[in-house]
């Protein structure tokens, strides 16, 4: 196979560089010192050669420190700017947006920026890339670092040109003296030296504050931020020159595949190596603790061997519930281990018990999948007590910690290098394949690339947790809602935080704790009621979860279910009051101006005509309806309408059109934001209409795209978007918030079309038909 390792094409230049990097685990300081053979490697890699040219030996500690300007930004002699960040691009275009922020604040052309992303030896830990917090939190970190860099450059220019800073101006990385023609470029000011400047830095991760006092531009002066700069990654992706994790190749690399049991607790009672003896190219059947994997010379050999290997597993009780009814019953009857009150105003219980009229409904949300298009993948090279790991982790530092624990070595012996994979929507906070690759590389002493098969990914990805939601409300004699009581019973994220993942558990590392709460947003918190209680409760799951129903954050964690429940219930209250659903919402959102603005904007965009739901019945099989929902996630507010057609003969729902009004404060890149919103609408429609993990006590049965279908082109709605840009506000997140209200808007549109209220997702034809039957037989509240 050696001939396969030769790198022959230009497209593999980056992979070649990686190969050289892997050959020796290197620290940033070594890079900056520019010592030894690595110089050759990095000369191939343009931006780093700028860095190397610039920084003197010993300029930095091994671990980049948040308080050192050089940890964030380096400027080459040619004026090229390298930005170091541990925030990774998960396919959302965040690298482009962060580049815009830095270019703007530094006064350099956008094209001068190159991001160095997610290498634990070169970046400060800014926390996991998740929760739509990158623009909100890392944006200011990089913005302030850029502002501090600009100040330093002005100070240097002032000294060099012998004029006060006040007389200097910067355009495109060139400092000029106002009134005379003297100028000096950033590149020549820096002249290959480090800044060697300390900046204030407090806090860690998301809460890290960098150079908070550095003077920043007024948003009114922005020229790059706020424009639709095209994504930097897409041209290479469309021409196949981009290097995904899946494309990383290092010299001597072998291929690994995992062999998974029914549960993490299962033990391999026997492994019959004879069963694969006829497959050529097998290097090793890796057994460690309960971990079983196959390492082979070729990918195909590894795949065949993993499939053919006869393993007899012990079969401990799986603890998988028998069906989804059993899950909801468990959620209803099991005491929570954590409760978080989101809102607690007045006395909801008393108000409801004394009310003229009260309402109650319960909603169900199933386990759903992230469904990455690319199954988990990583490349690891464990040599002695050191490891280099290429992984698509949302938290390279989290992966470093897990791998260090797994290997029993200090964290600084592990270098994790981020490489992008497919969109993951929260799945790669739990970077399982990195651990698999580490276990197998250690076993064979060579670099091993592990890629899960589709059934591994569908079967073992940590799922978005199931939720059971109960809403109660009371109205007074005039029909006003005077009380609101919302309870979300959800499984926690069993795999979040520092929990050991599958391979770690299989080799004997124990997890602890019950896991983290599945988010808290939604549930009616955009409204104000006199008596209002919103509680998110975490119901303990088998922990550490040995079953394939392990859980983790799934895009807009918990929001889809909570907003589905609260906004469906608002719709029921509006219908009971014979009120227009939009006007009814405005009445109770009155203290939330941004929600009011979004509701009005989406109403205008969708040409919403005021009338109560359901729509007057029309003849024929196709019933048409429209629905609306509003929600907030963190500090971003979204309102959406959906227009649907329901085929009364078979219950099939088609979402024709979705309109979204979106307010995430100051907008960095309008087209990038629209791209996110379109994706959220489509993924949200898919999750609302089609997605439910199928399982029983024997295991997961949704193991491919046929048994876990997602929305296809034939059912894609059109999407209209209005962006509300608030230059007076900070820039907030846009990766997740707009998926929140989509299922609710669709459910409300189904009600409008048919008079049938959906209380369980997904809205399959069977459930729609059942709801339609129930609507015609029951007396409406």
């Amino acid at each position: 196979m050696d001939s396969n390792m030769k790198m022959t094409t230009d497209a593999n230049m980056e992979a070649k560089t990686e190969a050289n990097m892997t050959a020796k685990t290197i620290s940033r300081r070594q890079v900056l010192k520019g010592t030894g053979a690595l110089v050759v490697a990095f000369n191939l890699f343009d931006p780093l050669s700028h860095v190397m040219a610039q920084v003197a030996p010993g300029a930095l500690n091994d671990e980049p420190q948040a308080g050192a300007l050089d940890s964030w930004i380096a400027i080459g002699r040619d004026g090229k700017v390298t930005v170091f960040t541990s925030k990774v691009d998960l396919g959302t275009g965040i690298e482009t947006a962060l580049s815009q922020i830095v270019a703007e604040e530094l006064d350099v052309p956008f094209k001068a920026i190159k991001m160095e992303v997610g290498d634990t030896t070169k970046t400060v830990d800014q926390g996991v890339t998740a929760g739509s917090r990158t623009i909100e939190r890392a944006g200011p970190q990089l913005r302030q670092a850029a502002a501090a860099t600009r100040q330093q450059l002005l100070k240097m220019a002032s000294a060099k040109l012998a004029v006060p800073i006040e007389q200097l101006t910067v355009t495109d990385g060139v400092v000029s003296v106002m009134g005379n023609g003297k100028k000096v470029s950033y590149g020549s000011l820096v002249a290959g030296r480090p800044f060697n400047v300390q900046i204030p830095a407090t806090g860690v991760g998301w809460d890290l504050k960098v150079a908070p006092d550095a003077h920043v531009k007024s948003p009114n002066d922005y020229k790059i931020v706020g424009t639709s700069v095209p994504r930097v990654d897409l041209p290479t992706k469309f021409t196949a020159s981009f290097v995904y994790t899946q494309d990383v190749r290092v010299p001597g690399m072998l291929h690994g595949r995992v062999v998974r049991p029914a549960t993490v607790n299962s033990k391999p009672a026997s492994v019959d190596e004879e069963s694969v003896k006829d497959i050529p190219g097998i290097v090793k059947i890796v057994r460690e603790g309960s971990f079983v994997g196959v390492v082979a010379q070729t990918e195909w050999a590894a795949i065949q061997a993993a499939k053919a290997l006869k393993v007899t597993w012990t079969t401990p009780e799986t603890k998988l519930p028998a069906n989804s009814d059993a899950v909801y019953d468990y959620l209803l009857k099991t005491k929570s281990f954590a409760q978080r009150p989101v809102v607690n105003r007045g006395n909801a219980d008393a108000a409801i018990s004394q009310a003229v009229k009260s309402y109650e409904a319960t909603f169900r949300w199933p386990f759903q999948m992230h469904g990455m298009m690319a199954p988990s993948c990583a490349v690891a090279d464990v040599q002695g007590n050191k490891a280099t790991v290429y992984a698509p982790s949302q938290g390279p530092f989290d992966t470093r910690k897990r791998v260090a624990t797994l290997l029993g070595v200090p964290e600084d012996k592990v270098q994790v290098i981020y490489r992008e994979a497919a969109g993951c929507y929260g799945r790669l906070g739990t970077d399982d394949a990195a651990e698999d690759a580490v276990v197998m590389s250690r076993a064979v002493g060579k670099p091993v690339r592990v890629q899960w098969m589709r059934e591994d990914e569908h079967g073992w990805e940590p799922k978005g947790p199931a939720q059971l939601l109960t809403v109660r409300a009371a109205v007074d004699a005039s029909g006003n809602v005077v009380a609101w009581d919302f309870l979300d019973r959800s499984f926690p994220w069993t795999e979040s935080g520092g929990q050991p993942l599958i391979a770690s558990r299989q080799v004997g590392i124990k997890g602890e704790g019950q896991g983290a709460l599945n988010g808290t947003g939604g549930g009616g918190d955009t409204y104000t009621f006199e008596n209002q209680r919103i509680v998110a409760a975490a119901i303990p799951w088998v922990k550490p979860d040995p079953t394939p129903l392990r859980t983790s954050p799934l895009r807009a964690p918990g929001d889809l279910a909570r907003v589905f429940a609260s906004e469906s219930f608002m719709d029921e209250l509006a219908a009971a009051a014979n009120a227009d659903p939009l006007a009814f919402r405005l009445q109770y959102a009155v203290k939330n101006q941004r929600a009011v603005d979004c509701l009005n904007a989406v109403g205008k965009l969708a040409n919403w005509q005021a009338r109560p739901a359901p729509a007057p019945a029309a003849s024929g099989n196709i019933a048409k309806g429209r629905g609306i929902a509003v929600s907030a996630r963190s500090t971003t507010v979204v309102a959406a309408t959906a227009e649907v057609e329901v085929d009364r003969s078979n219950g099939e729902v088609t979402v024709k059109k979705v309109a979204v009004a979106h307010d995430c404060g100051l907008i960095i890149n309008p087209d990038g934001l629209k791209n996110q919103i379109e994706g959220n609408v489509i993924q949200g429609t898919s999750r609302a209409l089609m997605e439910e993990v199928k399982f029983d006590a024997s295991g997961i049965h949704s193991l491919d795209w046929a048994s876990y279908p997602i929305l296809r082109y034939e059912k894609i709605p059109s999407v209209d978007i209005v962006l509300i840009d608030r230059k007076d506000m900070p820039a907030l997140g846009g990766g997740e918030p707009s998926i929140g209200p989509i299922p609710a808007a669709i459910a409300n549109a189904i009600f409008d079309a048919t008079g049938a209220r959906l209380r369980e997702a997904p809205f399959t034809p069977e459930r729609v038909l059942a709801a339609m039957r129930s609507a015609t037989t029951s007396t409406r509240a």
């Binding site: 396919g91 021409t239 994706g679």
Partner: protein
């Protein structure tokens, strides 16, 4: 193992491989191409699409021995970063992706469609692409990109 000759992107390439190896792994691991991508290995998602004798096929489900003598085009064979194919240019102009892992299949299926039907309707575009999955939800942009490549007016 057998010696197998392939015609990929107008070049003849000879590999040593088990004849039953799916074409995908030979293209990726032996020929070091990045265009075709592993998504499911089951012919369900389309990430591994290549054009074989003018047809879009799932390279995860074609034995390399069955691809001998066929004319194979991967995404690399369409155009380069410096000289992109008009379809690639249209995808860039429409910013028609998020993670783009599935876009290899979208672009190649669109290529086969446009070769047969220079001015497809929106329904024809959707029908052609319906077997290709995208999880990021870039469908609307892909449709616009295909229209743009066909010289049709594109409304955002």
């Amino acid at each position: 193992m057998a010696r197998i000759s392939l015609r990929v992107n107008n070049q003849t390439r000879v590999v040593e491989a088990d004849p039953q190896t799916p074409l995908l792994y030979v293209l990726r691991d032996d020929l070091e191409l990045h265009g075709p991508r592993f998504g499911c290995g089951l012919g369900q998602c389309g990430a591994c699409t290549v054009i074989m004798d003018g047809k879009a096929v799932r390279s995860c489900s074609v034995a390399v021995s069955a691809a001998q003598n066929a004319k194979i085009t991967t995404l690399e064979g369409l155009g380069t970063l410096e000289h992109p194919h008009p379809l690639q240019t249209a995808f860039i102009e429409e910013q028609a992706a998020q993670c783009a892992y599935c876009m290899n299949g979208m672009i190649l299926v669109a290529k086969v469609l446009l070769d047969k039907n220079a001015h497809p309707s929106e329904d024809e575009i959707k029908e052609a692409l319906n077997g290709n999955l995208c999880r990021c939800g870039s469908h609307l942009r892909v449709i616009r990109a295909v229209k743009r490549a066909a010289g049709e007016p594109v409304s955002a």
